[in-house]
């Protein structure tokens, strides 16, 4: 079977979801963020505060589509996968330049991808692990040779870590090692994205200006972006961030607490956006036979099933997300490619839960604990609700509030009983989430100690399966097994809550979390 897909070059098609108003140009968009970025290197970063804005500064060969499930042309205008699935050939866009006006060459592409897939660099190189060599067979062409067929290689080329950076400018930066150069370069970067970093007051304000050399065309036939600049203001306190938006000092604000969503929906000056996401919220259960030398009731599948049925997700969605969340149908969000689900998992059924507990090895119940992030209202709200719900099947739940580093340590050591957790995908493919959730060699299935040989072998097979129908079947079976016997209590999916002034248009946060400002514009007075 030949897999041959070429894409339309037209950048107008890219922005097909056009608002009714005509775009206007100019202005600075001021956007309130809950936390500042840490380190803006596409390869060496490790936090969402970096990942979610990096795509404004660096373009990838292909770009993720706005619905987060497909790919669109980026610095490459099209791609072709060979019949045996072992090579990807990409056609580079002509006459493209970095933000300093220097040309983006195939050498920059080869260097950037080689840096991104180097196992010594950062924590994202696994996304390109199948790549064995990147070459340029002829001018304007890039060939990626694989060591095995990789169904996720095309979406991997849209992920932030495979962004194209200027080799010459990077190597000219101060420092001996790649990490030192990256630190120096990140202070004053040259990018390939729609915007470029101009100044950065740590912890306070980041200023991006438009890249005059950006390649993509806007709806009006001129080059993107529409905005002259973006200012990110760091406002950690939710109430202050909203107040600043309402007083008109911000054009947009992210991470609106769900408790405030309805109020902002009713505010006539504000557009309350709930962007579809891949954000799933769940409880991870440690299912090892023993924890700290003691018998672990959570290792009993009947107990886990009982706890799942005793969890009233609808009630938690109402109390914690104020009705904004939706029940999960699989461990992966429904926006993930190949997600399969027919209705909410474990609909609330207390009687059934009680029956299951009676059949289990712990008919009289037991005591256990859950880790909640100290000061986090959602974590505490979920834990308190579960304490009450599971009390009805004889489980005495102790809530332990800890800080993030403490929680991570207990999690990694496998010494926790349960924890509240959340996940978003970084790639439009089910492989990443499944590797962490279900495939035991990666991190012991969410450090839970859960292991299923069929899942492990299906996952391994699916990683090199390029027949879509076969891979879909493999994933249907993996999800069936994990969703019915896995180490989690699925709770709900939530969108990304972003509040914007009414005169702001064209901004999107895609399901993978990336904030995309290149199509954003502000109505001028």
């Amino acid at each position: 079977m030949t897999i041959l897909r070429t894409m339309a070059v037209s950048a107008t098609a890219l922005l097909a979801a056009t608002p009714l108003l005509a775009q206007e140009r100019g202005g600075t968009l001021t956007y309130g963020r809950y936390a500042d970025s840490l380190f803006l290197d596409p390869v060496l970063n490790d936090a969402n505060v970096d990942i979610w804005i990096l795509s404004n500064m660096y373009d990838t060969l292909l770009l993720p589509s706005e619905d987060g499930s497909g790919v669109e042309p980026g610095l490459a205008t099209g791609y072709e996968v060979s019949e045996d699935g072992m090579t990807v050939t990409l056609t580079m866009r002509e006459d493209i330049m970095f933000s300093d006006g220097s040309p983006i060459t195939t050498d920059d592409v080869i260097w950037s991808l080689d840096r991104a897939r180097n196992p010594d660099n950062g924590i994202w190189n696994f996304l390109l692990a199948s790549v064995s060599e990147v070459t340029s067979p002829e001018d304007g062409m890039i060939r990626i040779s694989l060591s095995q067929p990789d169904p996720a290689i095309i979406p991997a080329l849209t992920v932030f870590n495979s962004a194209i950076m200027p080799q010459a400018a990077f190597e000219a930066a101060d420092g001996e090692t790649d990490a030192e150069k990256a630190e120096a370069f990140a202070q004053n970067p040259v990018g390939s994205g729609a915007f470029v970093l101009e100044s950065w007051d740590r912890g306070s304000e980041m200023h991006l200006v438009r890249n005059e050399y950006y390649w993509a065309d806007g709806e009006d036939g001129e080059k993107l972006p529409y905005l002259d600049a973006i200012t990110f203001e760091v406002i950690p306190d939710d109430a202050t961030r909203i107040l600043r938006l309402q007083s008109g000092e911000l054009d947009g604000a992210e991470m609106i607490p769900f408790a405030r969503v309805q109020e902002l929906q009713n505010d006539p000056n504000i557009t309350m956006e709930l962007f579809p996401s891949t954000y799933v919220h769940y409880i991870t259960m440690n299912v090892r036979d023993e924890i700290g030398g003691e018998d672990n009731p959570l290792s009993d599948p009947l107990v886990r099933e009982a706890m799942n049925y005793a969890t009233n997700k609808e009630a938690i969605i109402q109390t914690v997300t104020f009705g904004v969340g939706t029940p999960m149908e699989s461990y992966m969000s429904m926006a993930t490619p190949l997600a399969s689900g027919d209705g909410p998992l474990y609909p609330y059924d207390l009687e059934r839960a009680q029956e299951l507990m009676a059949q289990s090895g712990y008919p009289d119940g037991f005591s256990t604990s859950i880790l909640a992030l100290a000061g986090n209202q959602d974590d505490i709200g979920i834990s308190t609700a579960l304490q009450q719900m599971w009390g009805q099947i004889g489980i005495d739940l102790e809530i332990q509030q800890v800080d993030n580093a403490t929680r991570t340590e207990e999690y990694r050591n496998g010494t926790f009983d349960m924890r509240v957790a959340g996940w978003t995908n970084d790639i439009a493919d089910p492989g990443q989430i499944t590797s962490y959730f279900a495939y035991s060699p990666t991190i012991d299935a969410l450090h839970s100690g859960w292991m299923n040989e069929e899942v492990d072998s299906l996952f391994e097979a699916s990683q090199s399966e390029i027949d879509v129908a076969t891979r879909t079947e493999q994933y249907a079976r993996i999800q069936e097994i994990f969703n019915t016997t896995g180490p989690i209590v699925p709770l709900y999916e939530t969108p990304y809550p972003v509040a914007l002034q009414n005169d702001v248009h064209g901004f999107v946060q895609i399901p993978l979390g990336n904030n995309i400002f290149r199509g954003a514009w502000i109505e001028q007075e």
């Binding site: 840490l38 380190f39 490790d46 936090a47 010594d120 924590i123 990490a179 630190e183 990140a186 202070q187 007051d201 740590r202 912890g203 306070s204 304000e205 203001e233 760091v234 406002i235 950690p236 306190d237 109430a239 202050t240 961030r241 107040l243 600043r244 309402q246 007083s247 000092e249 800890v402 800080d403 993030n404 580093a405 403490t406 991570t408 340590e409 207990e410 999690y411 990694r412 957790a421 962490y436 990666t442 991190i443």
Partner: protein, 310 residues
């Protein structure tokens, strides 16, 4: 007097060494490590080990301490683990903001506390006294973040007299932006200062030398400023100096509510992020700042009351 200052500065050295050792060990005793804190839940064991090795955290604590002391003596506080920039640069950027906020809060606290203390003391047990003390009681019992949000909502968002948080770009803008947070921070301190000063004034009012001054026929204003204020301030000043440390601590919450990129927020973020070099560098720097404040307070006290240096 120079000898007094020199003696105090020498005393500072063992204090700083002690703080250095304690913070170095304490931060490493906290559960979790920088690599896990930075990399988060998704990190693979190999990544965590690699990063800890790169940071030199796989070495024993005495060795790490030796490496730290060596570079500390050359003025190098290392690089922030999560932000990847020099700690000295971070402190130079963010500590002045907190210092300015603290100074403004201290000044506002004094401006509020001194006149009200006089009124309350001179109208002791009468309506003004009751009103002032009652008002402060209410103020003291409100949490700082709540006061901050109320001020922001009323004077920022509704009346538009002040910006809703942030720090501004120029010095006059800084003062303007910091006014509401400084008031927030000053309120609880002024309550404490007011009560202390009121008590001190009442004590002085009953002192023999004031009765004597009055009987000499000196003008009330002269008595108030030269005799009463100066003597009553001595104990309040000691309290004020000690409170600067508390103010710096209180800045953490205020900085978060008002979105001010100060050292308080940096400290909290660094502790949560297990960013050892930043926690160490900032703690030592703050210790120096607080010690110097105490020294200045002592000097001021010595000037008011020469018996102190003896």
């Amino acid at each position: 007097m120079p000898e007094f200052i020199a003696r105090r500065l020498v005393q500072l050295i063992p204090t700083l060494i002690f703080i250095l050792v304690v913070v170095f060990v304490l931060v490493r005793l906290l559960p979790g490590d920088p690599a896990s804190a930075v990399l988060g839940d998704r990190a693979l064991d190999a990544d965590v080990e690699r990063i800890n090795r790169e940071l030199g955290l796989d070495r024993s604590i005495p060795v790490q301490f030796w490496v730290f002391v060596k570079s500390f003596l050359t003025g190098d506080l290392g690089n922030s683990i999560s932000l990847r920039i020099p700690v000295t640069q971070l402190i130079a950027d963010r500590l002045p903001i907190t210092m300015l906020l603290t100074l403004m809060a201290a000044a506002i606290a004094l401006i509020i506390a001194i006149p009200l203390a006089f009124v309350a003391a001179l109208r002791r047990e009468r309506l003004p006294d009751t009103l002032i003390r009652g008002g402060f009681q209410v103020g003291l019992s409100m949490p700082v973040f709540y006061i901050g949000l109320v001020l922001l909502t009323v004077f920022g968002a509704n009346l538009r007299w002040f910006p809703v948080g942030g720090y501004g770009d120029t010095f006059p803008e800084h003062l303007y932006h910091l006014f509401l947070p400084a008031v927030t921070l000053a309120l609880s301190l002024s309550a404490i200062l007011m009560r202390n000063l009121r008590a001190a004034i009442i004590e002085v009012l009953d002192a023999d030398y004031v009765t004597f001054a009055r009987s000499k026929g000196l003008r009330t204003r002269l008595i108030l400023f030269r005799h009463i204020l100066r003597n009553a301030l001595i104990s309040t000043l000691a309290l004020f100096g000690l409170s600067i440390g508390t103010l710096l601590g209180g800045a953490v919450i205020t900085e978060t509510v008002f979105a001010i990129p100060g050292a308080g927020r940096l400290m909290v973020d660094s502790i949560y992020g297990r960013d050892y070099p930043v926690v160490q560098g900032l703690t030592v720097t703050l210790a120096v700042v607080v010690s110097i404040t105490f020294l200045l307070t002592d000097l001021l006290q010595a000037w008011l009351d020469p018996r102190v240096t003896k």
